[in-house]
Assembly symmetry: C2
Homo-oligomer: 204 residues x 2
């Protein structure tokens, strides 16, 4: 299976960490976002949304969206389980994963597209007020996470799941590329990050 | 099972349509958003994100996030299948559902929070430029959908799925509450809407 990837992009990283946890080897294909290859006619046939990652199966069928790709990998290699083992756990992990995506990732994304690196490309009309609001939302969400990690070892309770992968990728991208590193006094969040970062998969 | 609901809110509607397709009866509990009941201490115990819908099981455990609730319902009542039957279909339907959520719903949401109804509540600092951009993105996405429906009967190919429920709820909310009705010349999108709207579940 081929994974269309771009070094440093946070969403392909989610799939690479997930695959590493499963021991699945993926052939990485560089899709050069700096050259806008993800918007080329050829790539839009693989994913009409023009985004990476895309997983291309050996028969040529393609799957887009990180979580959908991870669910495919979970279906074909069930262990270790990262999505949940019974109806309640399946839905609980999904809800936690979605909280991180919809309440943190979206805000980091808004700060990113309205920030200096994307600004220097001159592709989008930027909205400075949107970045001010999303920066504030990101920092408020970090505080919420810190409070949650006071009583919860992982994002979805007592065990590692796809929701931890989603949060790790979000925080690392925000810290390295958007100048939104969590405040140093959020000790529970820092403890979680340190533990997750030790896993060999996190080097993906 | 109890569903925390608010009449006219689009996300609880997604769950109500999904449950109607499955023939599952849910006890609807009104969570009065106008009175900010979704932000009360009592409700935040059910969903720390302070959002509806929430499904409360008979043993008191709660599940938040529409898609996570629907996945729980799919697990306990598998037929008719609405999430996919095999690894590829499961991931394909999820990817399509996510395209609608991440590329259309998020933009409708930005137009909503920066629009006149929310503005009249005086709760948020609104960003008019953000609404201008999201209105444009919504209309561009409607055009993309219209092109896709030229060769695809449903959102995820040849059969009805959760992705159609997501799109119906998005378009109806955008049309009725955000003044973002699809342009009348998008005939394929209109055909899809008319067909989906005929299903008894769509009255939910």
């Amino acid at each position: 299976m081929k994974l269309y990837d771009y070094s440093g992009a946070p969403n392909p990283r989610r799939v690479k960490i997930f695959a590493a946890e499963k021991g699945i080897e993926l052939e990485l294909i560089n899709c050069d976002m700096a050259k806008r290859e993800h918007k080329s006619d050829e790539f839009l046939k693989k994913n009409p949304s023009g985004k990476i990652p895309v997983l291309e199966l050996d028969d040529g069928r393609c799957i887009s969206e990180s979580v959908a790709i991870c669910r495919y990998l979970e279906s074909i290699v069930p262990d270790p389980n990262l999505f949940g083992n019974d109806p309640f756990e399946l839905s609980f992990i999904e809800s936690r994963n979605r909280h991180i995506e919809l309440e943190l990732w979206t805000q980091i994304g808004t700060s990113w597209v309205n920030g200096p690196i994307v600004g220097s490309l001159g592709i989008f009309d930027q909205i400075p007020d949107a970045k001010t609001a999303s920066d504030k939302n990101v920092n408020a969400y970090y505080k919420r996470l810190d409070a949650e990690f006071a009583s919860s070892k992982f994002v979805a309770g007592g065990r590692y799941s796809i929701a931890d992968i989603t949060l790790l990728s979000a925080i690392d991208f925000a810290s390295q590329m958007v100048d939104l590193k969590p405040q140093a006094d959020l000790l529970n969040l820092a403890r979680w990050h340190k533990e997750i970062n030790k896993r060999p998969s996190s080097n993906s």
